[in-house]
């Protein structure tokens, strides 16, 4: 019994010790501590961000930045808790799909006041300014870069199959991928996306097919106001797209999400991959395929020779509950200036937000060349905005992903799929 008391006493003292040590810190000498939380966390990016923050702290000795990097899968939940509790966060990563809900709930500060005199506005690309200022001029976030699709392809396999160059259209892709596919050798044509976010590529295909009639400001709408899913061309798009799955993709790709697709391409088993530019860095590290064996090509076009490039973006914003809004704005300005913005975009393989970066050699050579091609031909590669800010966007993602899988396993026809989607968006817009 005496012994157990001793154990309890030791336990208690350990606990008190921890409590005391944890309470240390917190200063009142005029320095400000900013809590900054990221959402699309990945270790390499966190490193880049930390080094930029260190530069910022060196320039602003009175400001300390504490970077919080939750695992990306849990990040949104955590950020929501922080914002709801109104404490613990000053600067946060805001994405095009979270800005709607966050601002509706009054969690984001409109930074237009703080950033009014910022000299950096002039250096931003048109797209960056457009997304930063929103429709009503409120600045809820400043983008740090853009994501956009391009086609990764295997130069050697395409050549061996007797083709002169990469596919330009979805039809070309079907033809080339089918020719390359040979399951007995574990060689597949296309790294098909059937799992999480399957909808993004399906929609990209549909948009390419209806590009002539597309409302670029809301790329789920046709110019006549109907949904893109109601167009007869949409069914052609789906038929080609699902043929690519049936004839030229690994059967298990029904369940493939991002990591499987990227691995499928970088381990050499698939010849084509439609992905964001961050994949460039991953594929460059591959030991299965060498730099000579792959390259990128512009986004695939529809029958009329056009493609729609959906812009996706994210950036930095300030929490409405922050008590250090001026300092927060200072940090965001710093991160969005020429040098820092370029570093961040290059290190993370993003389409940059500043004009000067787009002119650098980095973005003109190698795998990036296809992005330049797309930028230089805006009439062929339309830059479009999808309704990613809708409050029902995440609901749509889940619904559409699940229904695409239903088509893939034969529970739903493409016709039913389109009909359902047309109804869904028509309803949503009506009730808006």
């Amino acid at each position: 019994m005496r012994k157990s008391r001793a154990t309890a006493a030791i336990g208690l003292s350990v606990v008190t010790g921890l409590a005391l040590s944890a309470c240390a810190g917190g200063a009142s000498d005029g320095t400000v501590t900013l809590q900054m939380v990221e959402s699309l966390t990945n270790p390499a990016r966190t490193e880049v961000l930390k080094s930029l923050i260190a530069d910022f702290e060196a320039e602003n000795p009175k400001i300390t930045v504490e970077l919080i990097s939750p695992p990306t899968d849990q990040a949104d939940q955590k950020i929501t808790q922080m914002l709801q509790s109104g404490s613990g966060v000053d600067v946060l990563e805001v994405r095009d799909i979270t800005v709607g809900p966050f601002s509706t709930n009054g969690w984001l500060d409109d930074m237009s006041g703080e950033l009014e005199d910022w000299a950096g506005w002039d250096d931003l690309t048109d797209n960056a300014t457009k997304y930063a200022k929103g429709e009503d001029g409120k600045v809820y976030y400043v983008p740090y870069g853009f994501y956009g699709l391009s086609l990764f392809y295997r130069t050697d396999l395409v050549k061996d199959a007797g083709f002169d160059g990469p596919p330009a259209s979805w039809e070309d892709l079907l033809e080339q991928a089918s020719a390359i596919q040979d399951p007995s050798k574990n060689q597949f044509g296309y790294a098909f996306r059937g799992g999480t976010n399957a909808n993004s590529n399906v929609v990209a295909a549909i948009e390419a097919y209806v590009a002539d009639d597309l409302d670029t400001e809301n790329a789920f709408k046709l110019k006549n106001g109907d949904t893109i899913f109601s167009a007869p061309e949409a069914l052609d798009a789906l038929n080609t797209y699902f043929d690519i799955f049936a004839e030229a993709s690994p059967p298990s790709s029904v369940a493939w999400g991002y990591p499987e697709m990227v691995e499928g391409f970088s381990n050499g088993s698939t010849a084509f991959l439609l992905q964001d530019p961050e994949v460039i860095a991953t594929v460059e590290q591959s030991e299965a395929i060498t730099a000579e064996q792959w390259s990128t090509a512009p986004l695939l076009t529809g029958p009329t020779g056009k493609a729609a490039q959906p812009m996706a973006t994210a950036g930095w914003g300030t929490a409405a509950s922050s008590e250090h809004k001026a300092e927060a704005a200072k940090l965001i300005e710093f991160l969005s200036e020429d040098k820092q913005a370029t570093t961040f975009a290059q290190e993370n393989s993003l389409v940059p937000i500043v004009k000067s970066a787009a002119e650098s050699d980095f973005y003109k050579t190698g795998p990036w060349a296809s992005y330049v091609t797309m930028n230089e031909n805006p009439d062929t590669y339309l830059s479009v905005t999808q309704p990613r800010g809708s409050s029902w966007w995440t609901e749509w993602i889940q619904k559409s992903d699940s229904e695409i899988q239903q088509v893939l396993i034969g529970q739903l026809t493409p016709e039913q799929l389109l009909e359902g989607w047309d109804e869904y968006w028509t309803e949503k817009w009506k009730s808006e």
């Binding site: 990227v262 590290q285 591959s286």
Partner: protein
């Protein structure tokens, strides 16, 4: 020993145990092999069951890129302290629930069991607010408090089961000898129950060691992070860093394996000679 095993029974036994060992260990083997492959070689095809080049790059990276040492220390502190305290508290309540009859007993047990049925996300919002008010966000002590609470119900229910397997006569004898209830519990029952208590401690420890959801929500800074948060950090929306993750997983498994190896002696130790001759 009267019931000797026949050699056929023995053969069946070891065949079965051996088969299960292979099934169990294979994924572990796979993680270990992956952790020693060069980052680029992990997805080479055809699959290689042995690294062509042994590389400790993944391990070095863990300590260079992430403060893995800090996470290990944090996890060790949090899981050990929480598991010790939770086991002790649960022992007290389990004892009462096993040895006494009172009207609300069924309700108490059900209330404990019910905690295992509640999805934690429901409680997360209010819990976060509570911890904010207590100034225990981003604090290992705060995490320990919650882990204790999370461990207690299951641990109590489990230990109660073990207590009930022990005849009353044992402690009654002790009490006649002049021990208090408390004394009877610790001098007589605890030694007899060592296997159960050690098992309970291990479960508590492992549950805390692996807990991700609360840890991610309540811990912010690198200095206070625990291993599961760090492990999960290798999954990004773009990629899964298999090399680093396998290396981290191997390092994570080692302490628990050591604990098992150490504790399994107690789990199978059996009753102390003469303890239950009654």
């Amino acid at each position: 020993m009267i019931d000797k095993e026949t050699s056929r029974a023995k053969a069946v036994k070891f065949l079965f145990l051996g088969l299960w060992l292979v099934i169990t260990v294979f994924p572990l083997y796979w993680i270990v092999v992956t952790s020693f492959k060069k980052p680029g070689a992990i997805f080479s095809y055809p699959l290689t069951y042995w690294p062509e080049v042994f590389s400790i790059e993944n391990y070095l990276g863990l300590f260079a890129k992430a403060q893995f040492g800090t996470y290990v220390v944090n996890s060790l502190i949090v899981a050990t302290v929480a598991a010790v305290i939770a086991t002790f508290i649960s022992m007290l309540s389990a004892y009462v629930l096993a040895r006494f009859e009172f009207r609300s007993k069924g309700a108490i047990l059900l209330a404990f069991l019910a905690t295992q049925m509640i999805p934690s996300f429901i409680a997360l919002g209010p819990l976060y607010l509570l911890m904010t008010q207590l100034k225990l966000v981003d604090n290992r002590f705060g995490l320990i408090l919650i882990y204790i609470a999370v461990c207690i119900p299951f641990c109590t229910v489990m230990l109660r089961g073990f207590f009930e397997n022990i005849p009353d006569a044992l402690e009654e004898a002790a009490m006649i000898d002049g021990c208090s209830r408390f004394g009877a519990l610790f001098r007589v029952l605890v030694p007899v129950l060592k296997p159960g208590i050690v098992a309970a401690f291990i479960f508590n420890f492992v549950n805390c060691w692996n807990e991700l959801f609360l840890s991610v929500t309540l811990i912010n800074s690198d200095a206070n992070k625990t291993i599961p948060t760090a492990l999960n950090g290798f999954i990004t929306s773009y990629n899964i860093d298999w090399g680093s993750m396998s290396a981290a997983a191997v390092l994570t498994i080692i302490p628990t394996m050591v604990l098992f190896a150490f504790a399994s002696r107690y789990i199978v130790q059996g009753l102390t000679a003469g303890a239950v001759k009654g």
